[in-house]
């Protein structure tokens, strides 16, 4: 699985021999690959007007391009803001709640993200074909897809340590601009242009996987909530800046502590482990039927309803599984 940003085809259908060679080298003799473009076909075409574009079939003959439009940027942030408003609105009546939830479209985005990640995973696992994923910049929906696909495909990404590694690779080092994406969350009046909850969407999708495969992730909801918190505001330097270059310039590694170092301490670690975890060597294919996708109560109603009874349930699970 590869990821990149969009090719700079432009309005004049520029070609780049080196890019074509590079992609050609990925494939073996007679093999074909898939390009998953996370923009709609129309948006991708329009991108040519501003210097971007897509890989033309003629130049990349062995690659088949698939478009899966995933929401990003401003519209995704609006979706998030609307959802949080709806969850906090105590005056919503029962006959309006679901349509309000529907109009936020957050769950539709979860469904789309999971579907696209499954598609990428299927290319690799079922078709045994290579996949290239990109959107426009390669820093948002691209990473959402590649990271999620790895959780689906690779059991090592489902361990506590492996998941941290995945985050480091596919989000932090890959250059997801945390600094501008996770500046103000859902309550900002400023409506910042670069703000968008891609990382939260990723965490939500992982939570959906943990619900559908309760034994297969070594970590539980608590880790996901902690990651969400730390992406926006943290005592640790892990999520600072927007790429490795900035972290270098700001001397993040020299001047801050790592979130992972703290999480992995034995006393901390056990709070984040899933008592039901058993290594599952297989691919985990989620259902993306609407009935299978749920609103993440633990996050969106975290401060609105008590988690006492659910916490007690987890304590019981721990006891039952932990043995006599």
């Amino acid at each position: 699985m590869l990821r990149s940003s969009q090719p700079l085809t432009g309005p004049n259908r520029k070609r780049c021999r080196e890019d074509e060679t590079l992609l050609g080298m990925v494939l073996d003799e007679g093999e074909r690959g898939f390009i998953i473009d996370t923009r709609s076909a129309q948006a991708a075409k329009q991108a040519r007007m501003t210097g971007g574009g897509t890989e033309p079939k003629s130049s990349y003959p062995h690659w088949r391009r698939l478009h899966r439009a995933l929401e990003r940027g401003r519209p995704l942030q609006e979706s998030f803001i609307k959802l949080v408003e709806a969850c906090n609105d105590a005056s919503i009546t029962m006959d309006r709640w679901l349509s309000r939830l529907e109009s936020c479209r957050w769950l539709s985005h979860v469904k789309a993200a999971l579907s696209t990640a499954c598609l990428a995973a299927q290319c690799l696992d079922r078709e045994e074909a290579s996949v290239l994923v990109h959107g426009a910049e390669g820093t948002d929906t691209t990473l959402l897809v590649t990271a999620l696909a790895q959780v689906i495909l690779d059991p090592s990404c489902r361990t506590l340590v492996g998941f941290q590694g995945l985050l480091e690779r596919e989000w932090i080092e890959a250059g997801h601009p945390f600094h501008v994406r996770c500046a103000r969350s859902a309550y900002s009046h400023a409506r910042l242009k670069q703000e968008a909850p891609l990382f939260l969407l990723f965490l939500d999708c992982v939570w959906q996987l943990s619900r559908q495969f309760p034994f297969s992730l070594e970590f539980g909801e608590r880790l996901l909530l902690t990651l969400f918190d730390n992406a926006y505001a943290s005592a640790y330097g892990t999520f600072l800046c927007s790429n490795e270059k900035e972290r270098c310039l700001c001397k993040v590694k020299e001047s801050t502590h790592s979130l992972w170092a703290w999480l992995n301490q034995p006393e901390e670690k056990e709070k984040y482990l899933n008592p039901l975890y058993t290594h599952n060597a297989l691919v985990i294919w989620p259902s993306v039927e609407p009935q299978s996708i749920q609103l993440w109560h633990g996050l969106f109603f975290r401060w609105i309803r008590s988690s006492q009874y659910l916490d007690e349930a987890w304590a019981e699970i721990q006891q039952v599984v932990g043995g006599n």
Binding site: S40, L66, H67, R68, A69, C87, A90, I92, T93, M94, D95, R96, W97, L98, S99, L101, E102, R105, L107, S108, K111, A112, S115, C118, L119, Q122, C123, R126, E127, R211, Q212, F213, P214, F215, L276, T278, N280, L282, I284, W285, P286, S287, V288, E289, P290, Q291, S292, Q294, L295, F301, R305, Y309, L310, E312, A313, E316, I317, V320, V321, N324
Partner: protein
């Protein structure tokens, strides 16, 4: 087969929403009691069982490329889509099923022919398992204020009430009889639940025959007696669970509701729960949503909202919560009614009892609750569940809604119930199955007339015997939670996938936590058995029943051996068989079962061998979503 084979048809495919194209050919059998489909094409033989009594509708669909389709909708929401090779066979199956699924006389019901290997004594013991008098004793009745009266022993007061009802001691025969003439169908106010801690009571009845201005001294005295049976409060609530408009309309027909001016110290309140016709229609719309093929998130949420189903669930829950609060917090007694006092009233009273009293959250307690508030108090199971060929307008998912309210509570309070979701689903199945006599007919008198207690079996021992699979591994015990105060904000109500999309296995979590936890616990059962023996020696009035299941198992109820309906194709396979001493045979092979099933069962709906198909499917879905947003 357990009963006579009626028909056998080859070349039949069973389609489901995922494997449309790859369905194998199998054989369809019709017996006197079941439809059985056998798919022997794969390594593992797959059987699908459908009880005829569970069939709600059978439709012939237009001719398809693969053959002649037959669509069967079941009352437990199983939808079976068969495609039969030959038209003549299809027609024969169709007409047979129509006849087999619509019995006319009660004697045709399965309960009268169901014959597990059980001695006569055990069958009779089974009927005596639940004794409502014991529950009244548990509440402290008879006491200074309340007594169990036999005024209705020959059904003279009310022929849809049981022979023994609880009324205030202060209400003498004249009051009781007078009140019965002023209440629809003679359903006088009687006690449902007494909250011992403060003497507040939940009582139930039907609507008064007040019209616009009629009064009845005895009825007023009856309410006064109820109110005075609770010295802790100077007023009592009278709750009409109908929408105000409906109740007012009833006045024109000589019925209606209590006038606060005529009854001393009552506070009257409407809590609008819609009627059986609205509920029937709401469920219909819900099921249409559940059957949608690969809907978008928007379609699903919009459809769910338009059905109104969760809104009705919330209405029932809100009413139960109101009653519980009135009793516990305000220490006031409540008298509840709807029109006839056997639908919404039953839901609301049983729910309130469950919220207030942890006993009803145990196996035994829940059985008592259903026997008391639903069976004894005359909920018309036969009509509401369409047991016999009858008026379709009488059919309504009243009990289903109650079961769902319990399920919603289980989601909010995972450790508060002794039983798990499967227990609810099994009871729900049997409410419709007519395999046991408990839910036949419409009231106690009718059951006596049909000789249910002599000729049929009780459901409860059968369920208790399966206790190990039906228990909640997270139950924290009888004293962990006193009353439950659920969150009733709209977001608290979840869609019950396990009921309404129960047989769409692909939609459910792929790994079953319940089975794993039960497996872990079965190791501990040996220890528990020892403890139970000691507990048995202690007298008890409250509390879960320790080892009735074990002792019954020793007697040898073989009932569970009969597979009575469709065996859900669990992703992880059957739970490990339970040995007679309660220990589980499978134990901690549960985990390797999961992996094994992963290997065997990778043909999940997302897993289409031809990726091009996936692309087409996802492409068209993307098109639909775009279309719906523009």
């Amino acid at each position: 087969f357990p009963t006579l084979l009626v028909l056998q048809v080859e070349n039949v495919k069973l389609l489901d929403r995922y494997t449309n194209r790859k369905a194998a050919n199998g054989t369809l059998y019709l017996t006197a009691t079941h439809l059985i489909y056998v798919d022997a094409s794969a390594e593992v033989r797959k059987e699908t069982w459908i009880l005829h009594h569970h069939i709600a509708t059978v439709e012939k669909l237009p001719l398809a490329t693969a053959g002649y389709p037959l669509l069967i909708h079941c009352k437990n929401f199983h939808v079976a889509h068969f495609v039969i090779g030959q038209e003549r066979d299809c027609h024969e199956v169709y007409t047979s099923l129509l006849k087999l699924s619509q019995p006319v006389k009660p004697e045709e019901l399965y309960a009268f022919s169901y014959n597990p290997k059980m001695s006569k004594e055990n069958r009779e013991i089974g009927w005596k398992l639940i004794d409502l008098k014991v529950d009244y004793q548990r509440m402290g009745i008879p006491n200074d204020y309340w007594e169990i009266t036999d005024l209705n022993k020959d059904y003279e007061v009310c022929n849809t009430y049981p022979p023994e009802i609880v009324v205030p001691r202060a209400a003498n025969k004249a009051v009781v009889v007078g009140s019965s003439r002023f209440r629809s169908r003679g359903r006088i106010p009687v006690l449902s639940y007494l909250y011992k801690e403060n003497n507040a009571a939940i009582c139930r009845c039907s609507q008064p025959l007040s019209g616009f201005s009629a009064r009845c001294l005895e009825d007023e005295q009856m309410l006064q007696a109820i109110r005075e049976a609770n010295p802790g409060s100077h007023f009592m609530y009278v709750v009409d669970t109908r929408p105000k408009l409906n109740a007012m309309a009833n006045r024109a027909a000589g019925k209606g509701y209590e006038n606060e001016d005529n009854y001393d110290n009552i506070r009257f309140k409407f809590i609008g729960i819609e009627n059986i016709h609205v509920m029937r229609s709401s469920l219909q719309k819900l099921l249409e949503v559940c059957e949608m093929k690969s809907p978008s998130m928007s379609d699903f949420l919009t459809g769910l909202e338009n059905s109104g189903w969760l809104r009705h669930i919330k209405a029932v829950m809100d009413a139960g919560v109101f009653l519980a609060k009135a009793v516990k917090d305000e220490k006031a007694s409540v008298l509840v009614h709807c029109s006839d006092g056997w639908d919404r009233t039953a839901q609301v009273c049983s729910l309130a009892s469950l919220l207030l009293d942890p006993f009803y959250r145990t196996f035994k307690g829940f059985m008592v609750l259903i026997e008391k508030e639903w069976i004894a108090m005359g909920h018309k199971f036969s009509h509401r569940c369409g047991h016999l060929c009858g008026d379709p307008k009488e059919v309504s998912p009243v009990f289903t809604q109650f079961a769902e309210c319990v399920w919603q509570l289980m989601q909010q309070f995972p450790c508060a119930f002794e039983f798990n979701e499967r227990f609810l689903l099994e009871i729900h199945d049997h409410v419709y199955s007519c395999q046991f006599g408990n839910f036949l007919g419409t009231c106690h008198k009718e059951r006596e007339d049909l000789k249910i207690f002599e000729k049929t079996h009780s459901l409860w021992p059968f369920l208790l015997q399966k206790k190990q699979e039906l228990r909640n591994p997270l139950y924290r015990g009888f004293t962990a939670y006193k009353e439950l105060q659920p969150n009733t904000l709209p977001f608290s109500f979840q869609f019950w996938c396990g009921m309404y999309n129960r047989f769409d296995k692909g939609m459910h979590p792929k790994q079953c936590v319940l089975d794993h936890l039960l497996g872990c616990m079965s190791q501990k059962v040996k220890l528990e058995d020892n403890a139970s023996e000691l507990e048995n020696k202690l007298p008890f009035l409250d509390g879960p029943l320790p080892s009735e299941a074990c002792s019954l198992a020793k007697i040898g109820c073989a009932a569970s051996k009969t597979p009575m309906l469709n065996t859900p194709q669990d992703y992880e396979g059957e739970p490990p068989p339970v040995l007679s001493n309660g220990a589980g045979a499978g134990d901690i092979d549960a985990m390797s079962d999961v992996d094994q099933k992963h290997r065997d069962n990778l043909s999940h709906h997302q897993d289409l061998h031809d990726l091009n198909d996936t692309i087409d499917v996802l492409d068209s879905k993307a098109k639909d979503e775009r279309r719906s947003t523009t």
